[in-house]
Amino acid sequence: MMRRDDDVIIGLVARTASPFIMIFALYVIFHGHYSPGGGFQGGTMLAAALILVRLAAGDDLAQLQFPRAWGTPLGSAGVLIYWGTGFVAMLCGGNFLDYAFLPLAGAAPHRRNLGILFIEVGVGLAVCGILTAIYDDLLEGRPRD
């Protein structure tokens, strides 16, 4: 699919840019409180950083960065964080997903603030894992060149 002489430049640029994209994606997730962003946007950018290396440097090289087998478990871990926060809130006395009852320090608005942060991290991990897993599954049976 790629000519051998194009390989080096595109692969090198993609591999260099990918960590910076991931750092910016983490910034977008954690600053969802104060600027536009949040879980879905940051998760999609994380997935974009991983898929960039898959497209530019080949699937086999990208396995060193993020192996194929990690995609679906990461997605499930993200959903587990979300539901786990909801159940912790329920176990500590409130309704499901009522962040005021989480066992954290601070006044009620601050607890809601941190509860939203946990939710966004869970959503970001889930979106990243699942989008990368969909990409890997769609390319599963392709003949190797």
Binding site: G32, H33, Y34, S35, P36, G37, G38, G39, G71, T72, G75, S76, G78, V79, Y82, W83, G86, L97, Y99, P109, H110, R112, N113, G115, I116, I119, E120, G122, V123, A126, V127, G129, I130, L131, A133, I134, D137, L138, E140, G141
Partner: protein
């Protein structure tokens, strides 16, 4: 052939223009308090957070976000299951 679809879409002219604010009036059309006004006033007070969209998504409408995350997890699992069967069928044949 699809002028019919165009005419249908164009004739159902919504009564609001691009900057008009009938949707945003404070006692809304049904007499209830307007939901976007509450969502604009409340996030600073309830969750110490300037970003209104995040607070709506994660706090006031958290069930929708939970269902939607389940949707994307289900889609990923479906892709895995559909394409795995193809792989094992190829290995057997």
């Amino acid at each position: 052939m699809f002028g019919a679809v165009l005419v249908l879409a164009g004739m159902s002219l919504p009564d609001r223009g691009d900057p008009r604010a009938r949707l945003h009036r404070d006692p809304s059309a049904a007499g209830t308090p307007n939901a976007p006004s509450y969502y604009i006033r409340s996030p600073e007070r309830d969750a110490d957070t300037p970003n209104m969209v995040t607070v709506i998504l994660a706090d006031y409408r958290g069930f929708d976000t939970m269902g939607e995350e389940t949707v994307i997890l289900t889609a990923g699992l479906i892709c895995f299951l559909i394409l795995r069967r193809e792989r094992s069928k190829e290995k057997r044949s």
